[in-house]
Symmetry: none
Subunit: 239 residues, 2 copies
DNA sequence: CCCCGGCCTTACTTTTACCTTAATTTTGAT
DNA sequence: ATCAAAATTAAGGTAAAAGTAAGGCCGGGG
């Protein structure tokens, strides 16, 4: 199955006109293959044989009810299954959903709604590629690693924790890694109101940062000063 | 998120009674965290900040409509989103589903149906990613063990039980173990309405927690404060 | 119905980690 | 050599958080 619309669907319903209607709707919507069964026995057979990517059941079937059939097929497979029913009683909907159906649509239904719901489910099931849990926000500088979520700096000689100001400043530098950041810009990202005598205040913080992330704070390798312009975090060195 | 019921849900609705009802329903159903927003602005903020695992929108909101909001958030994230609406017109349902909503539920709704539909969707979205079997709901910190199901803290000198607030706070910290959690975020997970003078209230609860889980509450080893930023539960030390 | 006890909240004082200031020294461009 | 920019120190101030105690709320038992 390359796209969700190449899904193979099994429709189980004993009313030929509904089958026909569904086939029409689904074909128009672009679903390529729709196969059908009129009763439980046929459905079981086709399910095993064709291995459809989704199943639509009517609740009332000539040789059993859709609920038990669905439950039975659910044991074997986790493909999307949804009910189509003329019976809109609350308890039926709850039963259907409770058994693990992906939806319960009542007749009469809007063709477009059926298609939307069905494609939504198929998309969820076959494209579950939810953005993988984002990697930890980490800054790697040689042997030094900074984790912004935990505020911890890992160095060869142990762990150090960042203070609030250090955290803000380093983050700003990190966001502009490889580029010069002006003192002014740095201050604005770490302080609310304007800091008056900041010429030194900032420097003192820079110094403290260097003590935490540099091997030798007097000979900075990562947090570099650019005379007359500001500071710069050295671009990440790719291994 | 270890099981689907540890999902964090964001409910966006301007009617306080609906929010309350939903919180009750969802809590009863076992969903761990339900946060709420009253309008689009708040929803956007919370969404970015809290990164919920699912969102429930009302269609009509004071500062915009749910449809556009949903579309906007959908750009950023693929988490399950569903509508809750008093407007059962066909075109609205089609619009909502067409924009990529996972479901469109009309008020009045059956609580159980909401829960079933929501868990079904969450299962579809998150189950494929759940590789590991659901872990015990336990937090282990050195010689201290916290069982969240029973709310019991086992220490070397006996058992202590957590109160409701302590439970909520510790769970939040646990879910973000190793990461800094802001006071604001902590408060939101333990209190429904905004807590006004929470500066101290939260601290007092933190103190009580420390008395229960720390060997020496004055020298915390596990529940650490990050001055100016929040609190942090020390990352589990791998044996 | 009222009292009691557990839990939560408020109000206030004390402590301390972090930030700022200021004074001095070093660096680097011209 | 000169001077401004930046670094370095150490000490003091300050606001955030800790600590403490008392009051308020609510549900269960007498």
């Amino acid at each position: 199955m390359k796209t969700i619309f190449e899904a193979k669907l099994l429709v189980v319903d004993d009313e030929p006109e509904i089958i026909k209607l569904l086939k029409t709707i689904l074909h128009q919507a672009g679903f390529a293959q729709v196969i059908s069964a009129e009763n439980c026995r046929q459905a079981r057979e086709l399910f095993a044989l064709e291995k459809p990517d989704g199943v639509i059941f009517d609740v009332t079937l000539p040789d059993g009810d859709g609920f038990s059939l669905m439950q039975e097929l659910r044991q074997q497979s986790n493909v999307p299954m949804l009910f189509l029913s003329a019976r809109d009683e609350d308890e039926n909907r709850l039963l259907g959903l409770g058994l693990g159906a992906d939806d319960y649509i009542t007749k009469p239904f809007l063709p477009r709604e059926l298609v939307l719901r069905l494609s939504g489910i198929l998309r969820r099931v076959y494209q579950p590629l939810l953005t993988k849990p984002p990697a930890e926000e980490c800054l790697v500088l040689g042997a030094v690693t900074v984790n912004f979520k935990s505020g911890i700096v890992q160095t060869s000689d142990g762990e150090k924790t960042l203070t609030a100001k250090e955290h803000a400043l380093l983050k700003k530098l990190w966001q502009n890694q490889g580029h010069i950041v002006t003192a002014d810009s740095l201050c604005r990202s770490a302080w609310d109101d304007d800091l008056y005598g900041y010429e030194n205040t900032l420097m003192v913080h820079i110094r403290r940062l260097r003590e935490k992330i540099e091997v030798d704070p007097s000979q900075p390798q990562y947090l570099l000063t650019v005379r007359g312009m500001g500071y710069k975090l050295a671009a990440e060195t790719k291994p």
